[in-house]
Symmetry: none
Subunit: 205 residues, 4 copies
């Protein structure tokens, strides 16, 4: 039993190493320009070994996005659930997401890029799994917004549409960020974005 557990632990460790290596390469080169050979080298495994952990390149890519997104959502959930008061959940959501991406820059690139392309992908399998990921993400944002909106002095907006607007606002910094100095944190942009958004959705007076 204990022995099996150790095996299981080792399996997970190696799998995670591969995911991390893949994250580095995919984020730097994009899906198509990344080769299995390079991921293998980065992970310090042989090429063939990758296929013991993942069905293929696409599966590795999707698994990476799914698992990291789950992590992101778990983190957002935990942070947001603490917040109380009108607009506080949204404020908290923005801060949390920025903070998460600061610590996961590589994943950030993949997440945003893919979010803007996956819909019109030819590969149906790829589309389906990705679709689920982003639906879950948007659903969570929409729910957060809904909770906040109803309790505060906000306009009566469609939460789902508003969620897209907020997501777009957050993503917008993707284009500038890679250029800016490595030291600059997304987190510091949170107040700027928060203010625009909250004012944007508040009730007219």
């Amino acid at each position: 039993m204990a022995k099996l557990a150790r095996k299981e632990r080792e399996y997970r460790t190696r799998r995670a190493e591969i995911i991390t290596a893949a994250e580095r390469v995919f984020s730097a080169k994009g899906f198509d320009k990344t080769t299995m050979e390079e991921i293998a080298r980065e992970a310090e495994f042989a090429e063939g070994t990758l296929y013991n952990f993942f069905k293929g390149k696409i599966d590795l890519y999707l698994s990476l996005i799914e698992e990291k997104s789950e992590e992101l959502l778990g983190y957002l959930h935990k942070q947001v659930s603490k917040a109380v008061g009108a607009g506080e959940k949204i404020r908290c959501l923005i801060k949390a997401q920025m903070g998460f991406f600061d610590k996961n820059r590589n994943f950030f690139k993949i997440f945003v890029r893919e979010r803007n392309s996956f819909e019109w992908m030819a590969q149906k399998d790829r589309t389906k799994r990705l679709s689920k990921v982003y639906q879950t993400y948007i659903d969570f944002v929409a729910r957060t917004i809904k909770d906040d909106l109803k309790r505060g002095e906000f306009r009566n907006l469609n939460p789902r549409e508003t969620a897209y607007a907020l997501a777009g606002l957050l993503n917008s910094f993707v284009c500038r960020w890679p250029k800016s100095s490595k030291k600059e944190r997304l987190f510091d942009q949170a107040p700027f974005l928060t203010e625009i958004f909250l004012k944007g959705v508040q009730k007219s007076r």
Copy 2:
């Protein structure tokens, strides 16, 4: 003389046909998954013919983006220059862009997707030409915002950063739109987005 002019006209026509065909395929599959063979088939030319008009696949792709972007910017410029009154230019910009994308759905997909990926491209040549395109676009948005902000009751925000925020807001609908019914127009979302943005940037009271 007349003959030369006709040749030139025919050349332009064929070139435009190729660009349009390329637009369809690139928008459906993305750059890497698109093959020259498919563009050729779509354009009803032989593969080799494409190389009489463009240096290669990348050149075709970039030319498409550059020329369509110029068209977009020209259109935006024309529309925006008519507007007067506080916030009117921004309102007009949003409406114009949405209208343009309604008529150029395929290009829209390419434009937005590329805008979110080009920064970390490997190919330096591709990056350079794209960079110029998006700089020009953001510059225009920033200038429009600046003009409007100073004349209205708006907060004193950095125009460039605000431009990114607005661009992100507009782009945000890319993820939903392809799914929604073909009849639904981006143009109809303009008021919703405009309101969020204008309120978001106005002076606190």
Copy 3:
């Protein structure tokens, strides 16, 4: 009649222009790397026009070699026929060939390169026409040697084998010549080569 003759003259002129242009390009790039497009540009004709004068690329190439070789042989013949005295024909042959190549550097490159490759060419048609050219050349050299050998104090060597030896000797400078200054003439090497050869074949004492 006169009109036809003028047409004929013009035809020949244009044909010669193409040959000369082809000579320049073929000598610079070799057969395979040369494109019809480049020959056309160099000759200031359209690509299609070349096909009114030659059946295709290979035909153009072979025609060029054949006609220039005829010219070379005619020249050698004329020069050598003047010579009298033991070894004089050979001496004269070497001088004449070097002189001709000094004036036809482009053709020289083609001639020597092709001489060393044609035998194992895949294209049978090409081989046959080239074979004839070089046989004629070697035949002439062999005949010249034979004439000379029998009248002088020379060993009784197989003229054909000796002709190959002489041809090899002459060609040997091809590798150095393109490197040496443009001003340096092959003609100046004639005495050096002549001496080696004549001594090499004379009777032992």
Copy 4:
């Protein structure tokens, strides 16, 4: 340890098989007309496999020439170093080279053909590596000649120029040889060539 050594051995074997197959095809068709597909078929490997051993077509070609030339030079060196007596080194060199080419007919074709064309190659990379090969070869011949000339009753000739003459003499048989019966050996021509050359360079009396 033993395992690694075996892998290494197998690698070398396969690499050599490819080189040999390439030698056959290149010698029969020349560089440009040879396709990787044909080399692969000849070597009984898949096309892609060739690229595990060589960077590309040119690299394969140059590697072949470089390695075979090294073999040739090593062999010549060994043979010539044994010779003593005036003219003996040169006699030995000619015999050795002819003997080597008898056993490496395919390589012989490539070596001679390339030697006569490489100078005006477009590809700079190809030129550079080849240049080195032929410089080394000529240097060796020149040194051999120099050693011999100074000890014998020979004229005071420039060793380098004389080396070119000798190389030309040896190469001259390339044109006849492929035609002649397979049984005929270059080696048998050695005395004929040796005599012409040695007499050609000896002191006048």
